[in-house]
C-alpha cells in the first residue's frame, strides 16, 4: 500500500497541466468550437487515450486517463464532445465490430467528425431495458426499424446511433434483441429535444418510422444484442474517477467562501455549529469518495475489472452528489436557486454538457439525474445484492415467455 503518485505519474500530470495552460480555450460558444477543442485534445494524445493504438488511441494506462480528466477538472477546461462515441460506441465496435466497421467508423469517432448517440431506453423500457419494443424487421439486404427511443443524450447533434432493437418477439425478451449502427441522418428518423427539469435539453426523443439499417451495420450476431449491451454498460472505466472529486472539492471551497459571507444574527454562518457539522460531514464523505476512486484506479491499473463493484462506486458517488447539492442549496439559500442575475460571489462557473454556463441551480437539479441514469440506485442495489452478496433472485414473471 503506497498512496503516493509515482514519479512518472507526477511528471505526466505536470506535462498535462502545462499543455492545458497553453492550449485551453477560455470560452466555447458553439458546437464547432467544441469540436475544434475536441480535435486539439485528440491530436495532443489526451482523448481516446484508453483505446488500443491500432485504432487511433494511446493504449494509455487508466491512471494516465484519470490524470488528464483530473487536470481538466482542476483547470476548469471545457469538456470535449462525442463522449458516448468515445466512451461507449467506439469500444463496442473495437470488441464486437467487423474489420470493415472498425475501418469505417472508429477514427471519425475519435476526431468527432461523426457524432454518436446511444439508442437504448424507451418510454416503457427504462430500468427494465430488455423490455424494449422498437422492432427491426429483416428485409433481405437491410432491416426496417420502427419504434421510439427516449433519454437519448446528444441525439440532436448525432450523425449515427448505436441501436438496440427487437429482431425476434417470439423468444424470451433478453434473447430477441440485436445491436445495430444506425444512420441518424435519414428521413425515417425524427429527433425531438426533451426539455428536462433543468430547462435545458441534454436528451432527446427519437422516433423511427421505417428507418433503414444496412445488414453490414449489424454488430455481433442476430439476437446477441443484450449481451453486447451488457458489456457496453460495463465498459465505463475509471476515467472520471478523480476528476469528479476534484470538481466537488472546488465546489466545496466555493461553499466555504459563501458561508463566510452569508450571515445569521449578524454572524457568518460558517461560525454556526450546525453549519460546520454539515460541512464537516460532507467533506468526510467527499474524501471517502476520493479514497474509493484511488481503490478503483488501483484495480484498473492491475488490469482487474471492478465488475459489479462498479455498482458500489456509482451508488456511492451519485447518492453523495445528491446530498452534497442539497447542502449547497441549504447554505446558499435563494442564491442557490438563481438561474440568471447571479451575483459574482455566488456564481458557479461550470461547463455544462450543452455548453451553457452552469449555476448552482443547474448543478443541484442535475444531481437528481445521477441516481437514475445508467442504472438507478435501486437497480445498482439489486446488482450488488445478487452479484456481490449472492442473495437469492426475486421471482420474476418476465424470465419466461416472449414479449408478444
Amino acid at each position: 500500500m503506497d498512496l503516493n503518485y509515482t514519479a512518472e505519474d507526477v511528471a505526466f500530470r505536470k506535462q498535462v497541466r502545462t499543455w492545458l495552460e497553453q492550449n485551453m480555450p477560455r470560452h466555447i460558444r458553439n458546437l464547432d468550437e467544441r469540436k475544434a477543442w475536441h480535435r486539439r485534445l485528440y491530436e495532443a494524445g489526451y482523448l481516446g487515450m484508453g483505446w488500443p493504438k491500432e485504432y487511433g488511441g494511446q493504449g494509455a494506462r487508466p491512471m494516465e486517463q484519470a490524470i488528464v480528466a483530473d487536470e481538466m477538472a482542476r483547470a476548469g477546461a471545457p469538456a470535449p464532445t462525442n463522449s458516448l462515441g468515445v466512451g461507449i460506441v467506439g469500444p463496442t465496435i473495437v470488441v464486437h465490430g467487423t474489420d470493415a466497421q472498425k475501418r469505417r467508423y472508429l477514427r471519425k469517432i475519435l476526431t468527432a467528425e461523426e457524432m454518436w448517440c446511444q439508442l437504448y431506453s424507451e418510454p416503457n423500457a427504462g430500468s427494465d431495458l430488455a423490455a424494449l419494443r422498437t422492432g427491426a424487421e429483416d428485409r433481405g439486404d437491410h432491416f426496417l426499424v420502427n419504434g421510439q427511443k427516449i433519454w437519448t443524450s446528444g441525439g440532436a447533434v448525432a450523425d449515427w446511433g448505436l441501436l438496440l432493437a427487437r429482431t425476434d418477439p417470439a423468444v424470451p425478451k433478453h434473447k430477441g434483441i440485436t445491436c445495430f449502427l444506425m444512420n441518424m441522418r435519414q428521413p425515417g428518423v425524427e429527433v425531438r429535444p426533451l426539455k428536462q427539469i433543468t430547462g435545458s435539453s441534454e436528451f432527446c426523443e427519437v422516433f423511427m418510422t421505417n428507418a433503414r439499417v444496412e445488414k453490414e451495420n449489424m454488430i455481433g450476431r442476430l439476437g446477441e444484442g443484450w449481451g453486447i449491451a451488457q458489456t457496453t454498460l460495463g465498459y465505463e472505466r475509471g476515467g472520471r474517477a478523480l476528476a469528479r472529486i476534484t470538481t466537488y472539492a472546488s465546489q466545496y471551497k466555493m461553499l466555504m467562501d459563501a458561508a463566510r459571507r452569508l450571515k445569521r444574527n449578524g454572524r457568518p454562518i460558517l461560525d454556526d455549529a450546525v453549519v460546520r457539522q454539515k460541512l464537516g460531514r460532507i467533506w468526510a464523505d467527499l474524501e471517502v469518495e476520493r479514497y474509493g476512486a484511488l481503490r478503483t484506479l488501483t484495480m484498473l491499473e492491475r488490469g482487474e475489472h471492478p465488475g459489479a463493484g462498479g455498482s458500489l462506486t456509482k451508488l456511492s458517488y451519485s447518492e453523495f452528489e445528491k446530498r452534497f447539492m442539497e447542502l449547497a442549496e441549504e447554505i446558499l439559500g435563494p442564491y442557490g436557486q438563481l438561474t440568471d442575475g447571479v451575483p459574482a460571489e455566488f456564481r458557479l462557473e461550470v461547463d455544462t454538457a450543452v455548453g451553457d454556463h452552469g449555476t448552482w441551480a443547474y448543478a443541484f437539479l442535475w444531481s437528481r439525474a445521477g441516481t437514475i441514469y445508467a442504472g438507478s440506485s435501486e437497480i445498482q442495489k439489486n446488482v450488488i445484492g445478487e452479484r456481490i452478496l449472492g442473495l437469492p433472485k426475486e421471482s420474476r414473471a418476465d424470465r419466461v415467455g416472449g414479449t408478444r
Binding site: 466555504m256 464537516g280 468526510a284 481503490r295 442473495l391 426475486e394
Partner: protein
C-alpha cells in the same frame, strides 16, 4: 499509487483471522464477559508469541517494526471477533503513546515488556466532562519531593484494572504534561465502569495526591499536547479499524441469515427491502475500509493530510458502523434482539468505540477547523 494490501499484509490478516476464529470464538467472548479479569492469559501469551503485541514497535524494542496499516489489519480482525482483552489499551494507547513521546529509557523499560506480554499498558485520556481536547485536562500535577504529585479523576480508562502502567495527562505549572502512573500505587483507586460491551472493560481512576517519580514524565513537562494529539489520532483510526471489523461481521452474519430465513414462502433475501438494505450495508463497509486504510497509511507515511484523514476516518466510520450494525439487527428481526444470538457482541463493540477518541461530531468540527485555519494562513 497502490491502494491494495501487499502479500505480507494479506498473510498477516489471514493468520490473525485464523488464530482468532479458532481461539476467540463467540463462546470464548461470552466466557470472558463473565470472567472477573475479562481476558485469557493463554490467548494473551499466544498473541505475544505471534508477534502481535509488539507489532508497531521497533525491532530493538522487541517489536516487528510494522506500521499502522498492519496494526489496523489486526484491529479490524479483533473487532470482527469482538476480542475481549487489553490489546488496544496496551499496544495502541500505552505502546504508541510511549513510542511517540517516551524517552529512550522509558521505551527500553516498557516496550519490550508490552511486546512480550509481560506488561500491560493503557492511557487515561478522558475526564468527567468527556472533552477530547487535551487542553481541557483538569487533573493537576504539582512538584513534590523528588518528583510529582497527581490529583484528579479519570474516566473510561480501558483495562486499567489489569494495567501495569497508565499514561496520565495532567496540568503542571509548566503546562499540560504526561505521566506514567502505576495504577496500584498508593492513592490510586480503580473502580469498574461497566458498559454494554462486557467484553471491553473500563474503569474510573481516582488519583488522590499520588506520588510519581521525576523520571515518570513522558517528554518534557508542559510538552504533552503534541504527543497526545498524535496519540488521539492513532487511537481514533485504530478504534475505527475495530468498528470496521465489527461492522463487517454484522454484514456477513446478515447476508448468511437472509439466505436461509424464509417468510411468506420465500427466502427473505429475495425481498428488495432486505436486499437493498444489505447492499447499503456493503457500501458503508467498503467506504469505511477506504477511510480506515487511507488514514492508517497517511499517519504511517507522515502525509500532509494525515490529521485530516484521521478525523475523516473517525467521523465516517463512527456513523457508518452504527448504521451497519443496527441494520444487521433489523434484518435479523427478533432473533437479533436475543442474548443467545451472537450479533449483539459486535453491535456493542462498535457502539462502545463510537464515542471514544472523539465521536463523529468532534471530528467533523476538527475537519472544518482545520480547513478554516488552512485558508486563513
Amino acid at each position: 499509487m497502490n491502494f491494495s494490501f501487499s502479500e505480507d499484509q494479506v498473510l498477516l490478516r489471514n493468520s490473525v483471522r485464523a488464530a482468532l476464529d479458532e481461539q476467540c470464538t463467540p463462546a470464548h467472548v461470552r466466557a470472558m464477559m463473565e470472567d472477573p479479569k475479562g481476558y485469557s492469559d493463554a490467548l494473551w501469551g499466544e498473541m505475544a508469541k505471534l508477534g502481535w503485541l509488539g507489532l508497531p514497535f521497533a525491532e530493538e524494542q522487541g517489536g516487528a517494526g510494522l506500521g499502522l496499516v498492519e496494526l489496523a489489519l489486526v484491529l479490524e480482525e479483533m473487532g470482527r471477533a469482538a476480542y475481549p482483552g487489553p490489546y488496544f489499551a496496551s499496544v495502541v494507547l500505552g505502546g504508541l503513546g510511549l513510542q511517540l513521546g517516551g524517552s529512550a529509557a522509558q521505551k527500553e523499560k516498557w516496550l519490550p515488556a508490552i511486546a512480550s506480554g509481560q506488561a500491560r499498558a493503557s492511557a487515561a485520556l478522558l475526564e468527567d466532562a468527556l472533552d477530547w481536547n487535551p487542553a481541557a485536562t483538569t487533573t493537576s500535577a504539582t512538584k513534590g519531593g523528588d518528583g510529582w504529585r497527581l490529583s484528579g479523576v479519570k474516566r473510561f480508562v480501558p483495562w486499567a484494572h489489569v494495567a501495569d502502567v497508565v499514561l496520565v495527562p495532567a496540568r503542571a505549572p509548566e503546562g499540560l504534561s504526561l505521566f506514567l502512573v502505576d495504577p496500584r500505587a498508593p492513592g490510586v483507586t480503580v473502580t469498574p465502569m461497566v458498559g454494554i460491551d462486557l467484553a471491553n472493560r473500563w474503569s474510573e481512576m481516582r488519583l488522590a495526591d499520588v506520588a510519581v517519580p521525576a523520571e515518570a514524565v513522558v517528554g518534557r513537562p508542559g510538552g504533552a499536547s503534541v504527543v497526545l494529539e498524535g496519540l488521539l489520532r492513532r487511537a481514533a483510526v485504530g478504534a475505527s479499524a475495530e468498528m470496521l471489523g465489527a461492522a463487517r461481521r454484522c454484514l456477513d452474519m446478515s447476508v448468511s441469515y437472509v439466505k436461509v430465513r424464509e417468510q411468506f414462502g420465500q427466502l427473505i433475501g429475495s425481498f428488495q427491502a432486505i436486499r437493498h438494505r444489505c447492499a447499503e450495508m456493503l457500501m458503508e463497509v467498503e467506504n469505511s475500509h477506504s477511510a480506515v486504510y487511507y488514514a492508517a497509511w497517511a499517519l504511517t507515511a507522515g502525509a500532509g493530510d494525515a490529521p485530516m484523514a484521521a478525523s475523516i476516518c473517525k467521523a465516517y466510520v463512527s456513523e457508518s458502523a452504527r448504521k451497519v450494525c443496527g441494520d444487521a439487527i433489523q434484518v435479523h428481526g427478533g432473533i437479533g434482539f436475543t442474548w443467545e444470538y451472537d450479533l449483539h457482541l459486535y453491535f456493542k463493540r462498535a457502539k462502545a468505540l463510537e464515542p471514544l477518541y472523539g465521536d463523529a461530531s468532534h471530528h467533523r468540527e476538527q475537519i472544518v477547523r482545520g480547513q478554516v485555519l488552512h485558508s486563513d494562513k
